[in-house]
Amino acid sequence: MATATPSTPPPKRSALTSGPGLAGWIENGFRGGVTSCALLVAALLGALALMLAMGGWNAFRTFGPAFLVDGAWDPVAGHYGALAPLLGTVLSSVLALLIAVPLAFGTAFWLTTIAPRRLSKPIAMAVQLLAAVPSIIFGMWGFFMIVPFMARHVQPWLDIHLAHVPLLGALTGGAAFGLGLMTTALVLALMVAPFVTAVMCDVFNAVPPMMVESAYGLGATRWEVIRFIILPWCRNGLIGALVLGMGRALGETIAVTFVIGNVTAVGWSLFAPRSTAASLIALQFPESPAGSLGLSALLALGFILMALSCGSLVMARLLTKEAK
């Protein structure tokens, strides 16, 4: 140390080390900034859950666990049970996914492997545009196009042909309002399908081309390639697409409010007017003054809805973990 010539300048601080110094300060500041953004996002979720739970506390305390299985929702009597809207939410979402997933899978399959390039590009774009259409437009379109169609054609036909079949008759019966669970499921499915398609297309395109080409080289048909090569490879991504669709279907409010009929009842018919948690919140909120039991019941319903979407996400996480 002592032998070093005094004229040697001190070694310049490398920009790579993030010690003190202006560069280090900026680096730490940037890091702190992005970290606090992440913290904020986490806090946002916590606050959301907390606010809904606190708001719904009054209803949970008043009705106890029976709140979940009580089929009566009677604002006039001040009696609230969540079974009818929850059943509506779950049934409409499951039906919607049952329609949407094959539709989305087929479209993604067609777009990624079958379609000639000249066609696939504009159609992929059209599908993505469909995903961008706001939900209120789907609601209006469903209300003015699908509802009359269901009321005039589908329901009368079902009534004539299936009314006497023991189990199906109960499922499809009911007055031909056009509004109801099945109409909702249809509108939801058409809303959800483009989203799921877009994700599926991305996932399918991410499969290494070599695997696909080897399969074709062995003489596999397109269907076999998608069934035995692409599907197993994409399992995680597909589950992700499903969850995205499920989340949208569970929580969709405005489109559902237009077409479901908004009757809080429990029954077997898939074509009768019902309500979902989200549509009930949207409709009854204006009639529920702040601090009332009714508002608390709506918030409790919101909390349960959040728990539902959280639960589906956690389930998907577990499934994807198993697949790894």
Binding site: S18, C37, W141
Partner: protein, 310 residues
């Protein structure tokens, strides 16, 4: 042709190669009408047909929506729609205040959501250590927020902002929209940054650039198309959202420029008018729907065209 298969030396029987060979190359199997190959070909044709139908259905739905919007919304379109505020039934009104309110609230929401979303996305993609609990919590929170129903964002902001302050406001509406936009921005930012080749970051670091420069100048630039798509996706989603505004912005029948007061917005106006019994209101709802859809689709198409050019 059929004789060529037995000529090449067959792989030892019982091996996988022999099975594949038997499956794919046995000539009799390939040409018999009821054989396995015919069944495979039929399945393939069926799948192709069904997939094509699925694509056709989705395109037809889009066409039907656009067609309906144009048929019902175009006749009501005039300059007055943009310049006049909403009016009681019977009085000639427009959607001017709703359009303005939508623009203001969406802009505010994106102004709130963009920095937070980008920050969180950058953190998750570049700084987060994968096995730290906080990383898992943050990533899970972003995922979960993405699947949170939009109406719950409205309820949340109602409890958070509207109840304490005692009145509905445009700020509350913007906040609720931002809650919905943030996770989308986070997700796309993280995903797009994850696609940037590691070699690019290493090259930047090797040149002596500090990490934040590498991230902002190299990675974000390389991923900017994807990130911009995410932002636009968020913009399009918030621009058409109705549910979270019901309890936060509430809506306003008159010109509303002050975000601290209840504010009109186009989706809310459509929601209010579409279910009304007055023909002129329903007509205005269709016109509004046409405008919202054109705006949202216009943003999408414009970005795509722009991104293809750059």
């Amino acid at each position: 042709m059929t004789a060529s298969a037995p000529q090449s030396a067959p792989p030892p029987a019982g091996t996988e190669a022999a099975l594949v060979r038997q499956e794919l190359l046995t000539p009799s199997d390939r040409w018999q009408p009821g054989g396995r190959a015919a069944w495979r070909r039929f399945k393939n044709r069926l799948a192709t047909f069904l997939a094509t139908m699925a694509a056709v259905v989705l395109v037809l739905v889009l066409a039907s929506i656009l067609w309906t919007l144009f048929i019902k919304g175009l006749p009501g379109l005039s300059v007055a729609v943009f310049l006049r505020p909403m009016a009681p039934p019977g009085v000639v009104g427009g959607l001017g205040n709703a359009i303005l309110g939508s623009v203001i609230q969406t802009a505010l929401a994106m102004a709130i959501a963009t920095p937070i979303g980008l920050g969180c996305g950058v953190y998750l993609a570049e700084y987060a250590l994968p096995h730290r609990p906080f990383t898992k919590v943050a990533r899970f929170a972003a995922d979960l927020l993405m699947s949170v129903p939009s109406i719950l964002a409205g309820l949340f902001v109602y409890q958070l902002c509207v109840v304490p302050f005692g009145h509905f406001s445009g700020w509350a509406g913007a906040l609720a929209l931002a809650v919905l936009a943030i996770p989308l921005v986070v997700r796309t930012t993280e995903d797009m940054l994850g696609l940037v080749p590691k070699a690019m970051m290493e090259a930047g670091a090797a040149l002596g650039a500090p990490r934040w420069i590498v991230i902002t100048r190299l990675c974000m630039r390389a991923a900017r198309e994807g990130i911009a798509t995410g932002l636009l996706l968020a913009l399009a989603r918030t621009g058409g959202e109705t549910a979270p505004l019901l309890f936060t912005a509430l809506g306003n029948q008159d010109w509303s420029l002050d975000p601290s007061r209840p504010m009109a917005s186009l989706p809310l106006a459509i929601y209010q008018y579409a279910g009304a019994a007055y023909a002129d209101w329903v007509g205005l709802a269709w016109t509004g729907a046409l405008l919202v859809t054109l705006a949202v689709l216009g943003i999408n198409i414009a970005t795509r065209a722009f991104m293809r050019k750059s």
